[in-house]
Amino acid sequence: MSTQPGSEAFLQLVQQNRGIIFKICNSYCANKNDREDLAQEVIYQLWKSGNSFNGSYKFTTWMYRIALNVAISFYRKENKKGPVISLNENNMDVEDKEGFVYETEENLNLLQQFINELKELDRALMILYLEAKSYAEIAEITGLTETNVSTKINRIKDKLKQKFLTVNK
């Protein structure tokens, strides 16, 4: 499959995985305009780095690396710690549908809030964990060892659980 930036196959791969871009932008930007700028920057960098994808690892690994690197750099540059993002007032035109359980939505908003409060590197780690990536893949994306990934994730998870408990008291 051709992964040249302009090729249909490449575009299709990015489009199939565009949820990654959305979630990462939401996790690193509180402001809607910033999020759109970041999304564009990520897409541009994917397009620009298209030739660097050589198939030695998964396409999503490559995409996570680029999206997270761009998001962290963008966040450090802007460093606008705005209000917590809520899915309701949200950002990229998320529309509520019937049947979305209120409690789950509230938990999701809380989870987003807690993630946004993490340091930028911990945040990357947690997003990857929540995306159900294996420790090996997380290590490949972040550059940490698998043991380190496991230790850190457990520590962050404990922190998040503690925060949920405090809120739900």
């Binding site: 575009l11 489009q15 959305f22 541009y44 549908k97 590197l121 659980k161």
Partner: protein, 223 residues
Amino acid sequence: MEDMELQKIWAEYDRKLEESKVLNLQSWALNFRSFEGIQMQKAKSKLNRLAAFKTRVIVLGILWVLFLCTLIFFKFTWQGIIFNISAGAIALITAIAIVVYIKDVALIRQIDNSENILDTQEKLASLQASTIRIMGILWLQLPFYAIFFLTPAMLHDWNAWQWLIIILTTGLFTFAALWLYKNINYKNRDKKWFRILFNSPEWTSVIKAMNFLDEIEEFKKGN
């Protein structure tokens, strides 16, 4: 709360995204065809601009070194020996700073967002923090600016007071230069003198980069 529960909550995110129009390509400007135009606009990214700026500084630095070397080699006189030594030292220190700048430009060329996060972020932060390293090197020129105008004839005619003043001034400048060279590094960024010296807004991003380098180090350790 169970471990899996966090992932379950997050999975709702995907469901919500699937149900909504958020993944509409139009709303996200995900139409890659339009990026042909953006490519031109973004071709001069921040990193490219930084590389261009550093390259200009390198060119200016090389011209300055060449100018000093020309003075030394073509205008050499024994009367101007102290000037020649000072100019030589300043040229050498500038050349060292130029080497650091060249390394920075090479580092900019190496930055690849598709590498792992720690490597890429470390390179980016080091790039910003290197400005501090160059400042430390450039301070070493200080003592030579205190003596470059001296000539053997002048020194021959000087009285004890004049000798004392020049020795004290040069000694003080040398001490300050060596001390600053040794101490201008990010480990001292929280010290009061450091904050006074680098208080202006243009240093804020450099200081932040240093803090981030620390965070990366901590992050790697797994403590």
